[in-house]
Amino acid sequence: MKPAAFDYHAPRTLEEALDLLAAYGEDAKPLAGGQSLVPTMNFRLAQPEVLVDLNSIEELFFMREGEGGLHCGAMTRQRTVERSAMAKQVAPLLYEAMPHIAHAQIRNRGTIGGSLAHADPAAELPAVAIALDASMYVRSVTDARWIAARDFYVGLFATAMEPGELLIEVAFPRPRPRSGWSFEEVARQHGNYAMCGAAAVVELSDRGVIERARLVFLSVGEGPVAADQAAAMLVGERPTATVLRAAAEEAATKEIDPVGDIHAGPAYRRHLARVIGERVLNSAAARAFEACPT
C-alpha cells in the first residue's frame, strides 16, 4: 500500500497551478485534502504522474457571504464550514450535512472543492449542492465558467470539468423566504459512507401551498439523484403527511435505480430511500412553516 512514484508540485498561486495542469494535461491531478486521492494512490488504483498540490494557494481558501449566497473557495476545509456561524445562517442545509461527512479528523483535511470534484455517488455535498441549486466556478488557463450543480455531475466519479480545469469556488444560494430544508442519512456506523441519504428543500406560498420543492438522494445511483417527478408532484399541494409520503414513495419506486453492494442491496436501499425521503420532506416542510410569518 505504497503509491507509485509521482512528481510533486506545490504552486503558490492559482496561475501557476493552472499552468501546471495545462502543461501536464491528463497526467496531472490536483491534490486538495488528499482524503480520497491519497488512499486510491496507496492502493495504486490511481497512479497520477504529477500531483499539483493546492494547499499553498491562499486564494482558494475563503468563505464569504455574497450575491450568490455562501461563497466557498475550493480549498475551504470541511471542518471550517462545519464550525462557521455564517455557514449556519446563509447555507443551513449545507451546514446540517457537514457532520455526516466521514470523521472529524478527515473533515479537518478534506475540502469542499475536493469532495464536490471527486463526485463520489455516496458523498453528501454533491446532493446538497443540487438541492440548493449551487453553482461551481471552474477555470483553466484559457477559460473560466460557472456550471450549475445539476449540470456538473455527469456520471460515476465524473464531472463536467475538462482536463486542465480546476474547481475554484462554489456558491450556495441563501434559503428563500418561507422555505425549509433537511438532510438525513443512514450509515452502518457513524462516519461511514451512507447506504442512503437525502436532502430536501420545501418552499411554501403565502397560502401554505408548496411552491417549489427539491428532493435529492445520495448513494442510490451513479451520482446524486434529483427526484424531480416527486418534487413536481408536490407543487401546488399542501404538505400533509399523506402528500409527502406519496412523494417519497414516488421517488423511491420510480426515480432511483440503486445497485447493491456488500452493505446494502437494491431492495434495502430503495426501502431506505422511502424512509429517509419521507423524513426529510416532513422536516423540511415543518421548517418551512416555521419560516412563514404568522
Binding site: 492502493f43 443512514v186 452502518r188 456506523q189 456488500i262 452493505h263 424512509v275
Partner: protein, 783 residues
C-alpha cells in the same frame, strides 16, 4: 507493603510506556543497511501457474533480489502440521499445510508467489508491478456444501476430494433420546467468516550476523519459542544460534500463533542468503489475505426434549471451512463440538463434522476459536424449544444446568487437549440470577417492553450462557530472580499481546516475595531470556504461565526465608516478607533487605555448598492435568429502529466465572474487549467472498470494525469458583467476552420481533440482512 497486591485492580505497569509511544513494536526495529521485502500475491483464488517471470523486476533500480518457489531449492517445504488429529475412533484426516511461495498452483487469493527484496518498501512495491505471472484460472471452491459434490473442483488435487477430516463423537445414545422425546426441533445454522483485524498487522525483522553466527528475529508472534525451534531446524542452525523476540504486539487474538507463516520462514531464509537484515511489515490489505481467519461453519442440528423443557439429547452435523491449508489440525471444529454442550446436562449427544478445504485464506483459531459456533447452535436450539414450549428463555436454561454438586462433570468426548472433556468446577445458577438482576429482566418484560412496544418501538431482551475450556497444557515455565538491587526480574516464554502480563504476572510473584509490583520486571517472549515454552493461546497465559510464576516465586520465597533465617538467626516461621525486606515478625529492627540477601546468595569468595545453587532464583514449570472450565452469562437489551434496521444496545451485562481473579481491572479489560469483538462479529464484520473466491471487502473502508460509538458501556460482575486444577485457582478469561455475543444478538432480535416469529439462524447480521429476514418473516405463511 502491607496491602495485598494479588487480586487488586492495579493499573498496568506497562501502560506508561505504551501510552506515551515508547514501547518497542516490531516496526520500530531499525537496523543499519536493513532491506525491505514485499510479496507478489495472487489476485486469483484458484489457478495453475504456468510461469513466473521476474527478470524485469530484478533489473529495477534499488531491487536486490527477487525470489520464486524455484529459487528456494530444498528449503521449499510445506509447513509443519502443528497438531496431530485427536485420538478419536474412525477419524479420517487428510492434512495439507501452507507453502512458502506457491509452486504450480495458487490456492487462495493473496497467496504469495514471489518475494522482492529492495532498498525500500516503495521500491519493492514498484518492482511487484513488473512481476509477470502467467496463470490459468480454475473454478474456485467457495461454498462448503458445493465443495463436497462429486464434480467439485479440488483444492488439493492429490487428495481426490476436498475433505480435510471427518470426525464423529458421541455420548449416550441420540437415537434413544429421539424416540423418547416429546419435541424435536431441527434447524440449519450458518456462521460466516471474519478476521481478527488486530490493530498492529503482522511484521518481521530478521537479521543474520555473520561474525557471531547468530540469527535474530523480531516477530509479531504469540509463540516465540516454537518459532525459534522451527527456524533453527529449517535453516540447519542450532537453537542457540537463533534468537526470536516477540516485542510488544498490538493485538494477537490467535492468528498470530499460526506457524509458520510463509513470511516467517522466508525472511529468516533471505537474511541468511543475503547476509543482511530484512524487514517486512504486513500492510492492511495483505492482512486480509495473508493472516489467518476464522468462523465459516454450517450446522444441521436437532434437539430432543421432554415437554417440560428437559433436554434429552442433541444431534449436530456440521461443515467446517478449513480454508486452503489446515496447519492447525482440528482444534477449531473440535472446540465447536465440545463447547456446544455448554453448561447443560445433555445426556445424549451425536456430533459429526466434515472439515472442508476451500480456496479461501487459511483458517486457524481466532478469539473464541470454534466455540462461538457451538454456543450459537445450542443457545438457538434452546430458544426455539422455549418458544415452542412457551417457556421463558432464562427458565429453559436454568432447568438444564449441571447442578453444582455434579462437578467434576464428565462430557466424555475428546477436547482440543486430547483429553476427555471434564468440567473441573462451576456454579451456573448464581451467575444467571445475578445477570437477570443486573439487566432487570422481570421488570423489563413485565413493564418496560410492553409500554415501549405500544408506543411503536421494537425492543428485545436476551440472556445466554456459555462455558469455555481454558488454560490447557502442555506447560509453561518461569524464572524468578531477586537482583542485588532488591528488585525482582521474572522471565517466561509466553508471548504477550496486550493482556497485561507485565502486571498480572508481577502480582502473582509479589504475593510470594513481598515487593511492590512496580519493582518486578517481567520479560516475556525473548527466547534468549527463557528457553522453554509453548505460547499464548486458548486463554492459558494466566493459568499456565501464572501458575509457573507462582511455583517459581514460592521456591524463591523458600530460599529467601532460609538464607534470612541464617543471617538473622531466627526460625523461618518467625520471619515475614514486607516491602522488600525480611524481618522478624513484629521486630522491624531485626531485618535485612532482599538486595543484601541476593548479594549474600552470590558471594565473591568462599565456597558455595555442594548441592546448592547461587542466587535467589528459581525456575519452575507448570502443566495442568487438563483445562479449567470458565463460564458466564451475557444479557442485553437491544432496540431496533423499525424503519432503518439500525441497532442500539441499550444495556449489556456480563457475569463471568474465571475462578480466582488476579487483577479485576485487567479482567474487565479482557471482557470489554472481547464483547467489542463479539459485537463486531455479530453485526458489523463479515468477509464477503464472491463465487470466484475473491474478497470483496479487503479494506477497513468496507470491512466494518465496531468503533467506540458502537460499543455500549458493559456492566460486569463476577462469580468466583476457583479451579481445583491449579494452585492459584485461576481459569482463563481471554476469550469469554467474544464467545456468546452472536447467540445473544439472535435471541434479542427474535424477542423484538416475536409478534412475527422472527428466528435468526445466522451470524454475522447487518441492517440489510435484518431487513430481509424481517421481510421474509412478514410474508411467511403462518405455520
Amino acid at each position: 507493603m502491607t496491602t495485598r497486591q494479588f487480586g487488586q485492580p492495579l493499573k498496568r505497569n506497562e501502560d506508561p510506556r505504551l501510552l506515551t509511544g515508547r514501547a518497542l513494536f516490531t516496526d520500530d526495529v531499525q537496523l543499519p543497511g536493513m532491506l525491505h521485502v514485499a510479496f507478489w500475491r495472487s489476485d486469483l483464488a484458484h489457478a495453475l501457474i504456468r510461469s513466473v517471470d521476474v527478470e524485469s523486476a530484478r533489473k529495477r533500480p534499488g531491487v536486490v533480489a527477487v525470489y520464486t518457489a524455484e529459487d528456494l531449492g530444498d528449503f521449499w517445504q510445506p509447513g509443519p502440521l502443528l497438531l496431530p488429529p485427536p485420538p478419536v475412533e474412525k477419524l479420517e484426516f487428510y492434512p495439507r499445510t501452507q507453502v512458502p511461495l506457491a509452486k504450480g498452483m495458487v490456492r487462495h487469493a493473496g497467496e504469495a508467489v514471489a518475494m522482492v527484496v529492495a532498498e525500500s518498501r516503495y521500491l519493492a512495491e514498484d518492482a511487484l508491478d513488473e512481476v509477470l505471472v502467467d496463470y490459468e484460472p480454475l473454478e474456485a471452491v467457495v461454498d462448503l456444501e458445493a465443495a463436497l459434490h462429486d464434480d467439485a473442483p479440488l483444492v488439493h488435487e492429490d487428495l481426490g476430494s476436498n475433505v480435510n477430516a471427518r470426525v464423529t463423537q458421541t455420548k449416550g445414545d441420540w437415537a434413544a433420546a429421539e424416540s423418547e422425546a416429546d419435541l424435536i426441533i431441527r434447524r440449519r445454522f450458518h456462521y460466516d467468516r471474519g478476521t481478527a483485524a488486530a490493530m498492529e498487522n503482522r511484521g518481521i525483522v530478521s537479521s543474520w550476523d555473520e561474525r557471531s553466527q547468530r540469527l535474530t528475529v523480531w516477530d509479531t508472534t504469540q509463540a516465540p519459542i516454537a518459532i525459534r525451534n522451527g527456524l533453527a531446524a529449517m535453516l540447519g542452525l542450532s537453537e542457540h544460534q537463533v534468537r526470536v523476540i516477540a516485542p510488544f504486539i498490538g493485538g494477537g487474538f490467535g492468528p498470530k500463533i499460526m506457524m509458520f507463516y510463509p513470511e516467517e520462514v522466508l525472511l529468516a531464509w533471505g537474511a541468511l542468503k543475503l547476509n543482511c537484515s530484512l524487514k517486512w511489515i504486513e500492510d492492511r490489505e495483505e492482512n486480509f489475505y495473508a493472516t489467518t481467519q476464522e468462523r465459516g461453519q454450517m450446522h444441521d442440528a436437532a434437539i430432543a426434549l421432554k415437554s417440560d423443557g428437559t433436554v434429552l439429547g442433541v444431534k449436530d452435523v456440521f461443515l467446517h471451512d478449513a480454508g486452503a491449508y489446515a496447519p492447525y489440525g482440528l482444534t477449531l471444529p473440535i472446540n465447536s463440538q465440545c463447547t456446544l454442550l455448554g453448561p447443560y446436562v445433555v445426556p445424549n449427544y451425536h456430533s459429526e463434522f466434515t472439515s472442508v478445504f476451500t480456496n479461501k485464506p487459511i483458517v486457524t483459531p481466532y478469539r473464541g476459536a470454534g466455540r462461538q459456533h457451538g454456543v450459537f447452535v445450542m443457545e438457538r436450539l434452546l430458544d426455539a424449544a422455549a418458544r415452542r414450549l412457551s417457556l421463558d428463555p432464562a427458565e429453559i436454561r436454568r432447568k438444564n444446568f449441571i447442578p453444582p454438586e455434579e462437578f467434576p462433570f464428565s462430557n466424555e468426548i475428546i477436547y482440543q487437549d486430547f483429553a476427555p472433556l471434564v468440567y473441573d468446577s462451576g456454579n451456573y445458577e448464581p451467575a444467571l440470577d445475578r445477570a437477570l438482576e443486573l439487566i432487570d429482566y422481570e421488570r423489563f418484560k413485565r413493564e418496560e417492553q410492553p409500554r415501549r412496544e405500544a408506543a411503536g418501538e421494537r425492543v428485545g431482551i436476551a440472556v445466554v450462557n456459555y462455558i469455555e475450556g481454558t488454560g490447557i497444557g502442555p506447560y509453561e515455565g518461569a524464572r524468578v530472580t531477586v537482583e542485588a538491587s532488591g528488585k525482582v526480574s521474572v522471565a517466561t516464554g509466553v508471548g504477550t499481546q496486550g493482556q497485561g502480563h507485565y502486571t498480572s504476572f508481577a502480582q502473582v510473584v509479589a504475593e510470594q516475595i513481598g515487593v511492590d509490583v512496580s519493582d518486578i520486571h517481567v520479560v516475556t517472549g525473548d527466547t534468549d531470556l527463557f528457553y522453554w515454552g509453548a505460547g499464548t493461546f486458548a486463554s492459558r497465559g494466566a493459568v499456565v504461565a501464572g501458575n509457573a510464576m507462582h511455583a517459581a516465586a514460592t521456591k524463591v520465597r523458600g530460599k529467601i526465608l532460609k538464607l534470612a533465617g541464617e543471617k538473622l538467626e531466627a526460625a523461618e516461621e518467625d520471619l515475614e516478607l514486607i516491602e522488600g525486606r525480611v524481618q522478624v515478625k513484629g521486630v522491624p529492627q531485626t531485618s535485612i533487605s532482599l538486595g543484601e540477601l541476593a548479594a549474600e546468595a552470590n558471594p565473591m569468595r568462599g565456597a558455595v555448598q555442594p548441592g546448592t545453587e547461587p542466587g535467589l532464583e528459581a525456575t519452575e514449570y507448570f502443566g495442568p492435568e487438563r483445562g479449567a472450565t470458565a463460564s458466564g452469562v451475557h444479557a442485553m437489551i437491544l432496540r431496533v429502529d423499525p424503519d432503518t434496521f439500525l441497532l442500539e444496545i441499550e444495556r449489556y451485562v456480563v457475569v463471568h466465572d474465571c475462578g480466582t481473579v488476579i487483577n479485576p481491572l485487567i479482567l474487565e479489560g479482557q471482557i470489554q474487549g472481547g464483547v467489542a469483538q463479539g459485537i463486531g462479529n455479530a453485526f458489523y464484520e463479515q468477509l464477503h467472498f464472491d463465487e470466484n473466491g475473491a474478497l470483496r471487502n479487503a479494506s477497513l473502508m468496507d470491512y466494518l470494525l465496531p468503533t467506540a460509538s458502537d460499543i455500549p458501556n458493559i456492566v460486569s460482575d463476577h462469580v468466583e469458583t476457583p479451579s481445583p486444577l491449579n494452585p492459584l485457582g485461576v481459569k482463563g478469561a481471554g476469550e469469554a467476552g467474544a464467545i456468546p455475543v452472536g447467540a445473544l444478538f439472535a435471541q434479542a432480535l427474535d424477542d423484538a420481533y416475536r409478534d412475527i416469529e422472527l428466528e435468526v439462524r445466522e451470524i454475522p447480521l447487518s441492517p440489510n440482512r435484518l431487513f430481509e429476514l424481517v421481510g421474509e418473516a412478514l410474508t411467511r405463511e403462518p405455520a
